[in-house]
């Protein structure tokens, strides 16, 4: 593995988008049977680079060599033919089709003229899976599988087509640490068989655990390549971000007051009827930030939607300052000074085709001074909008600019501006800095802390553990619809929380029994 000639070389790859240089003369090489990690922040250029490799994008300059031969990759079919397989961050699986149908799609096994031979396909898939150390029933519909299983189907898809170079884009973003270990096992077996793996991630610990070499990309450039032996998390973080990262932000002490939000025995189901929140009790006091850490998909969205009136709980109560508000509508919650920064700002938070000024009063448009009875008062709306744009430093040419023209960070600032201005008794934030540029992240965090200092009760839900650690006064961990632990910020240890996020009650029990908690094998 170590000194064999590279199976893949990318040389001086450059890619421009309007207004952006996504890849700036990137050099990369991968040896046979090696796991190369591509490390970088969101937007650093890793995915763009891999999309070029997979034929989804064309580079503006640079060369690709496979097994030493120059290669022009025209489209994914071409990439597949050359032995490159890709597992995307957002799965490319058709939910209503079975595993077998998904795996053979585009390369179907046929009996005679176009008739599918599913039998043969199923046989091959079972064999492949066995080789990789797991079991799967090829006849199951993909939407019946867990996320981890779906990912394995994606890998099967790539291998079925003879991939020798497997690219995985943020594969562990949606996995529990348990599933992550399982996938690592699969990858190691692949490696043993000579497959090369490119592992894209921004998670430092994982990268150190699985990779043979780590290439760090920042702002479209390669800033360094290390082996795990010669580096550590701090150095990698610095390379990734480009400045010394202080992992502790001074948020000051909190001075919590009376409980504002009290949830008892809450049960909430999703649109399909699956119970996602399975009995949660929690309390948030005025002037404190309660952070809920958890891997996406453990019930956070449903919990949060139930709190702001977008979803009706199936059981349990929600109390605001002592009054029962269970199941009340979004407007009623709004009138009780509940504010919400949703995870999907383009869905719930903004009307993209509206000017910013209308977005800034989206929840207040009917109240004076923005309206007198049935009539709107546009001057008041404009004035308010201008105030908020200045106060929250929203970068926009005018208040009449459509929200769609703003960057993600500025769009989020519009939502934050709307929700954080005025009196707020309870502020609920769900993934508030997802897809937001670094500068805006800092700004939003400062706003949240300011709200807390103004005696608002803040409930923060985030999959970014660092964000939770940075901002929260108290931390809870959500796992499969329940809170498995709650503790004060100063008791919080990163590794413990990670384990709780991964293994839920099991880990919690072990901790309370004082058993030494180790990583599952």
């Amino acid at each position: 593995m170590t000194d064999a000639p590279p199976v893949l070389e990318m040389h001086a790859i450059t890619k421009r988008f309007p207004g952006t240089l996504a890849c700036d003369r990137i050099d990369l090489d991968v040896r046979p049977g090696e796991v190369l990690a591509l490390l970088g922040e969101n937007g650093a250029g890793k995915s763009t680079l891999m999309n070029i490799l997979y034929g989804l994008l064309a580079p503006d300059a640079g060369e690709i060599r496979i097994d030493g031969e120059p290669a022009t990759i025209r489209d994914p079919a071409d990439a597949i033919r050359r032995g490159i397989g890709m597992v995307h961050q957002h799965f490319m699986l058709v939910p209503v089709l079975t595993v077998a149908e998904n795996v053979i799609l585009g390369q179907e096994t046929v009996l005679g003229p176009g008739v599918l031979d599913l039998h043969e396909a199923e046989r091959r898939i079972r064999t492949l899976a066995e080789q990789l150390g797991f079991e799967i029933d090829p006849r199951t519909r993909v939407d019946q599988l867990s996320v981890g299983q779906q990912q394995r189907v994606e890998i099967l898809k790539a291998l079925y087509r003879g991939a020798r170079i497997l690219v995985l884009d943020e594969p562990t973003a949606v996995l529990t640490p348990q599933e992550t270990q399982e996938i690592f096992g699969v990858l190691r077996r692949l490696q043993a068989e000579g497959t090369s793996i490119i592992f894209i991630s921004h998670k430092l610990d994982e990268v150190l655990a699985i990779a043979d070499r780590i290439t760090v990309i920042r702002r479209g450039r390669v800033v360094g390549t290390r082996t795990p032996a010669e580096t550590n998390e701090e150095e990698l973080a610095e390379l990734m971000v480009g400045r010394e990262v202080s992992l502790v932000v001074d948020r000051g002490a909190s001075h919590p007051g009376e409980p504002v939000l009290r949830i008892t025995g809450l049960h909430v189901s999703d649109d399909r009827g699956n119970e996602m929140v399975r009995g949660i009790d929690l309390e948030v006091r005025a002037g404190e930030i309660l952070g809920i850490a958890g891997v996406a998909g453990n019930g956070q969205d449903e919990l949060v939607e139930a709190l702001v009136g977008l979803r009706r709980p199936t059981a349990g109560t929600v109390e605001l300052s002592g009054r029962d508000v269970t199941g009340k509508s979004p407007r009623e919650m709004r009138l009780r000074d509940v504010a919400f920064v949703p995870a999907d700002r383009q869905r719930f938070g903004l009307v993209l085709s509206y000017p910013i000024r209308d977005n800034l009063v989206l929840t207040d448009y009917f109240e004076p001074p923005f309206a007198r009875g049935p009539l709107r008062n546009e001057k008041a709306v404009d004035e308010r909008a201008r105030e908020l744009v200045a106060e929250f430093d929203i970068r926009t040419p005018s208040v009449m600019t459509h929200a769609s023209a703003l960057s993600g960070g500025n769009q989020q600032k519009v939502v934050v501006a709307r929700e954080c201005s005025g009196d707020t008794s309870l502020l609920v934030l769900d993934q508030p800095t997802r897809g937001v540029d670094v500068g805006s992240v800092e700004f939003i965090h400062k706003q949240v802390i300011a709200k807390r200092d103004a005696s608002t009760a803040v409930l923060l839900v985030s999959a970014e553990l660092d964000e939770v650690l940075e901002l929260s006064d108290r931390i809870a961990v959500i796992f499969r619809g329940r809170l498995v632990a709650t503790f004060d910020a100063d008791e919080a240890e990163r590794e413990k929380i990670g384990l709780l996020m991964a293994r839920g009650e099991a880990a919690a029990r072990e901790m309370s029994e004082g058993v030494a908690v180790g990583r599952p094998s």
């Binding site: 079919a77 597949i80 890709m86 699986l93 089709l97 799609l105 585009g106 046929v110 008739v115 383009q346």
Partner: protein, 348 residues
């Protein structure tokens, strides 16, 4: 008639419906002949929507194909004889359907226009073009009307008297051979959709086109193919309509059947067999008045049914469509990418 009779009447009604559908060849024939164009239109809907393209222009395609099929017969039957004109007319109708499929495909797949408006365009254009051409070509001759595309008899008397099979064969091959094609198409498409490479790729393209794209499937090309094929089938429906009205053409003769076909698609959960079932339902509804006249049930049910005004019978299929849609839509899920043009820049 007092209220206590109602439960008995309902039982009678169900029994009667069963009888006309399954036991009486003559009424079955009436119902099937009304079902055929609906089924063909529904198959067009299934093909288009399974690939991810909404097509509400089926009505317009039927009408336009009907007209051009009729026109072909009208212009040529003197020179090449009735049978040849009939066949050529059918061919032209199918071809016109395919051409309109190219138009709709171009609008929805390449231009990525709003798919419902594209369908509206087809409908408005159909009415405009057919009535315009009708007016300037056919009306002046004073010869428009029945008899141009007459149905032809292919099955001899001796066969048609054989029970069960005889009437079915007679119905399909005598009155309107196209009806036989309907059954064949339904079964064929059902098999093709679920057991062939084309079917798998079509379903993938309609549910998750990006996934199909990343494994190298030509999403746009496949969509075009299916839309054109589907619209050709709708063209066949147009030919059928003309033949079934004794070879005549009237402005607007498609009469909403293209839209009822859409309801059949939804009712049938976007499968060929299901859509046929839906078409059968609506076909029965359309033919109820004729059936009642032909095979009148006994007793109070009979007198009740014949006293219902003819307009109620005429309105019944439309009302049924609404009821079905209201009751079924929530539970019947369209292909996930239905109506969403592929590769459209995400509207930020």
């Amino acid at each position: 008639m007092d209220l206590s009779q109602i439960p008995a009447l309902i039982v009678e009604l169900v029994r009667y419906l069963f009888e006309i559908l399954f036991l009486t060849p003559s009424t079955l024939q009436i119902i099937l002949s009304l079902t055929a164009p609906l089924a063909l239109g529904a198959l067009c809907g299934v093909l288009c929507e399974r690939s991810g393209v909404v097509n509400i222009g089926i009505e317009g395609i039927m009408l336009t194909s009907a007209f051009f099929g009729y026109l072909t017969g009208f212009l040529l039957h003197d020179s090449i004889g009735n049978e040849a004109a009939l066949i050529l007319g059918v061919v032209v109708a199918v071809a016109v359907g395919a051409i309109l499929g190219v138009v709709h495909g171009w609008l929805t797949i390449s231009i990525r226009a709003d798919q419902i408006i594209a369908g509206v365009f087809l409908n408005v254009a159909a009415i405009g073009v057919t009535s315009y051409l009708n007016r300037i070509i056919i009306t002046p001759t004073g010869r428009g009307g029945a008899g141009i595309l007459q149905p032809i008899n292919l099955v001899p008397e001796s066969v048609t008297t054989v029970p069960v099979i005889g009437p079915i064969l007679a119905m399909f091959l005598n009155a309107n051979p196209i009806a036989m094609i309907v059954i064949v198409l339904v079964v064929a498409l059902q098999i093709l959709l679920y057991r062939t490479r084309w079917g798998l790729r079509t379903r993938a393209v309609g549910e998750h086109p990006k996934a199909a794209d990343t494994v190298g499937i030509d999403v746009l090309g496949l969509r075009y193919l299916n839309v054109i094929a589907g619209c050709a089938i709708a063209g066949l429906a147009g030919a059928y309509i003309v033949i079934a009205s004794n070879g005549s053409f009237q402005n607007g003769m498609s009469n909403g059947r293209g839209f009822i076909a859409l309801a059949a698609v939804i009712f049938g959960r976007w499968t060929p067999l299901g859509a046929f079932g839906g078409a059968l339902l609506f076909g029965a509804a359309s033919g109820l008045q004729t059936v009642v006249a032909v095979d009148r049930p006994e007793g109070p049910l009979g007198s009740l049914l014949v006293s219902i005004p003819t307009q109620f019978y005429a309105a019944f299929p439309y009302i049924l469509t609404i009821i079905i849609l209201a009751g079924v839509v929530g539970r019947s899920i369209a292909p996930a990418a239905d109506g969403i043009p592929y590769e459209k820049e995400a509207r930020a």
